[in-house]
C-alpha cells in the first residue's frame, strides 16, 4: 500500500480522536478519558508523520522531541494549581512560536510563488507571533512578574494603527511584489512586527480581564496551527487547529457575556486604568460593620444554608483547602453548603472550579449565578471570599457604574452577607462596592486564609 494513503488514514483517525476527546471533555465523568483519547490522537499523528519518506535526518527531530517532552513533563508535574493560569498561558505561547517557526521554515525553503500559499505563510507567522509575545505578556501579568495594571499611553490607537498598516505593507510585499525587499528581510520584518503587535495587544489589558485574553490567545494558537495546515497542505492541522480556534472563540464569547462587555471593550478600553469618579462619595454610602470571627461563628452556627462565593482573593491567599474544611464543618453542623462561581471569577475561565477541585470540593455543589440568584432570599449566609466585582450590586442598580449590566451573584438579597477582605482599599479598577455598606453585610477584615482558619477553629471549639 502506498504510504501516503496510510498516513492520511491515520490523520483521519487522529481527527476522530480529537473530536471524540473534546466531546468527552464536556462532562466531568468522561473528561479524563476524553483527554486521554485526544492525546492518543496526537501520538498517532506524530508517529505516522515520522514515517514520512521526505525526512532525511532523524537526529534533530529526536533530540528536539525528547528535550521538549522533558521540559513539558517537568513543567506540568511541578506546577502548583494556583499557578495554572500562567502555565496555560506559557504553553499557549509555545504553540504559537512553533507555528511561526513552521511557517518561516517553509518560507525560507522557497518552494512557493503562489499567493495563496504565501498568504497562508503570512497568516501563520503573524498569528503565531502575536500568540507568542501576547502569551508571554499574559504570563508576566498572571505571575505578577510585570504589573497586572492596564498600561495605557497617549496615542496608543495611533501607534497600533501604524503597526497594522506596516504589517499590511509587508504582507503585500510578501504576496504580490516580492523583491521590494529581500525575502529574508520580509520575513524578519514580519516576525518583528507580529511580536510587537502581540505585546501591544495584551499590555493595555488589566489583570481582571485576563480570562478573556487567555481564551482569545488560546483561539489564536489554534488558528496559527490551522494556517500552518494550509502552508503544508495538511488536513489534520486544519481540523485540529479549527477545533481549537472555535473553542477559544466560544470561551472568549462566554467570558465577555459574563461581564456584559463587548470584546472590543475588553481589548481596547484599558478597563480599570482610570480611577472611578464615583469613588469620592464612598464615605457617604454609609458605615461598614466589621464583625469578629467569634460573632461570625455564632451566625454561621445557626445558619441552615450557606453560600460561599470565592474570587481571585481566595486564590491569592491559597485559602481553598481551609475553605473546604469550613464547608465540611458547616455541613456536619447541618447546614446546606453550596459554592456559587461566577464565570469570570479568577484569572482564567473556570479558575475557581479547578482550585476547589484541588481542595476536594465535590463538583456537584458548585453552582452558577443563574441557578442560585432566584433562591437567594432563602440563603441564610453568603460568604464572599476574595470576590468583589462579581457581587457588586452597582452592576444592576447604578447605571453610571463602569460594570453596569454585568450579571452578578446577587448576594445582597440573602439574609446575611459576610465579606472577607483584606481592607477597605478598593480592589481592581477602584470601583466602589455598595455591598460593603448594606445593612445585612458584615465585614471580616484580614487575610482570607487566616480568617477562615479562625472560623474553623471556632467550630472545632
Amino acid at each position: 500500500m502506498d504510504i501516503s494513503i496510510l498516513v492520511n488514514l491515520s490523520y483521519i483517525a487522529s481527527s476522530i480522536l480529537f473530536i471524540v476527546g473534546l466531546k468527552m471533555l464536556g462532562s466531568p465523568d468522561t473528561a479524563r478519558r476524553g483527554n486521554f483519547l485526544s492525546s492518543s490522537g496526537m501520538l498517532l499523528a506524530v508517529l505516522i508523520t515520522l514515517l514520512d519518506q521526505n525526512i532525511i535526518d532523524y537526529r534533530y527531530i529526536a533530540g528536539a522531541l525528547v528535550a521538549g517532552s522533558l521540559v513539558g513533563f517537568f513543567a506540568a508535574t511541578r506546577v502548583k494549581m494556583t499557578s495554572m493560569p500562567e502555565m496555560v498561558a506559557i504553553f499557549n505561547g509555545f504553540g504559537g512560536i512553533a507555528s511561526l517557526l513552521v511557517g518561516s521554515a517553509e518560507y525560507v525553503s522557497g518552494a512557493f510563488d503562489n499567493p495563496a500559499f504565501l498568504g497562508a505563510i503570512f497568516l501563520t507567522v503573524l498569528i503565531g507571533g502575536i500568540t507568542f509575545t501576547g502569551s508571554i505578556i499574559a504570563y508576566g501579568k498572571l505571575s505578577e512578574t510585570i504589573s497586572g495594571k492596564p498600561y495605557l499611553y497617549k496615542g496608543q490607537q495611533f501607534v497600533n494603527g501604524i503597526l497594522l498598516f506596516a504589517i499590511l505593507l509587508v504582507g503585500i510585499n510578501m504576496l504580490f511584489i516580492q523583491g521590494f525587499i529581500s525575502s529574508e528581510q520580509t520575513l524578519l520584518l514580519l516576525i518583528g512586527l507580529a511580536f510587537i503587535l502581540g505585546v501591544l495587544f495584551v499590555i493595555p489589558i488589566g489583570g481582571a480581564d485576563m480570562p478573556v485574553v487567555i481564551a482569545l490567545l488560546n483561539s489564536f494558537s489554534g488558528l496559527a496551527a490551522c494556517a500552518a495546515g494550509f502552508v503544508i497542505l495538511n488536513n489534520v492541522l486544519i481540523v485540529a487547529g479549527a477545533l481549537v480556534g472555535a473553542s477559544g472563540l466560544i470561551l472568549t464569547n462566554i467570558m465577555c457575556k459574563a461581564m456584559n462587555r463587548s470584546l472590543a471593550n475588553v481589548l481596547f478600553s484599558g478597563f480599570g486604568a482610570a480611577p472611578d469618579p464615583s469613588g469620592e462619595s464612598a464615605q457617604e454610602q454609609g458605615e461598614v460593620k466589621p464583625i469578629s470571627a467569634e460573632d461570625a461563628y455564632l451566625i454561621l452556627e445557626a445558619a441552615s444554608s450557606v453560600l460561599i462565593v470565592p474570587g481571585y482573593g481566595m486564590a491569592v491567599a491559597q485559602a481553598q483547602h481551609t475553605v473546604r474544611e469550613l464547608g465540611e464543618l458547616l455541613e456536619e453542623n447541618g447546614a446546606e453548603v453550596k459554592y456559587a462561581i461566577h464565570p469570570v471569577a479568577g484569572r482564567m475561565p473556570g479558575h475557581m472550579n479547578v482550585l476547589l477541585a484541588e481542595a476536594n470540593v465535590s463538583y456537584d455543589v458548585l453552582v452558577e449565578p443563574e441557578d442560585v440568584n432566584p433562591i437567594m432570599e432563602t440563603v441564610d449566609v453568603c460568604m464572599v471570599i476574595g470576590a468583589n466585582d462579581v457581587v457588586n450590586p452597582d452592576a444592576k442598580d447604578n447605571e453610571g457604574s463602569p460594570i453596569y449590566g454585568m450579571p452578578i451573584i446577587e448576594v445582597d438579597n440573602s439574609k446575611t452577607v459576610f465579606v472577607l477582605k483584606r481592607s477597605m482599599a478598593s480592589g481592581f479598577a477602584g470601583i466602589q462596592n455598595p455591598l460593603f455598606f448594606k445593612s445585612n453585610t458584615r465585614m471580616l477584615f484580614g487575610d482570607a486564609k487566616e480568617m477562615v482558619s479562625s472560623l474553623v477553629s471556632e467550630f472545632k471549639g
Binding site: F36, M42, A116, C226, A357
Partner: protein
C-alpha cells in the same frame, strides 16, 4: 493545487462548525481543563515541525527543530497538566 486548497477550506469550515457545536455544551466547571486540553491539541503544529526539521537544508532544519522543541513542550505539558486537573474533579 487550487482544487486541493478549496477542499481544505471546505474541511476548515466544517471543522469550525463542529468545534462550535462541541464546545458550546461544555459546562463552566470544566472551562480550564477544556482550555488547556484544547491548547495541547493546538500543538498539532508539531506534525508540520517534524516535516520541516527532516529537510536537507540547514536553515529549514534549524527552524524546524526549534519548532519541534516548542511544540512538544506544548503537547506533552498541555496534556499532562489537563490530566492532572481532571484527576482532581471528583464527586462525593
Amino acid at each position: 493545487m487550487e482544487s486541493q486548497i478549496i477542499l481544505l477550506i471546505f474541511i476548515l469550515v466544517l471543522s469550525i462548525f463542529l468545534g462550535v457545536e462541541l464546545i458550546t455544551k461544555v459546562p463552566s466547571t470544566l472551562h480550564t481543563p477544556l482550555m488547556s486540553g484544547a491548547n495541547a491539541i493546538s500543538g498539532i503544529t508539531l506534525v508540520g515541525a517534524i516535516l520541516s526539521s527532516g529537510s536537507s537544508e540547514f536553515v529549514t532544519i534549524a527552524l524546524g527543530t526549534a519548532a519541534v522543541f516548542f511544540a512538544s513542550i506544548n503537547v506533552v505539558g498541555g496534556y499532562l497538566v489537563t490530566n492532572r486537573m481532571l484527576g482532581m474533579f471528583k464527586k462525593k
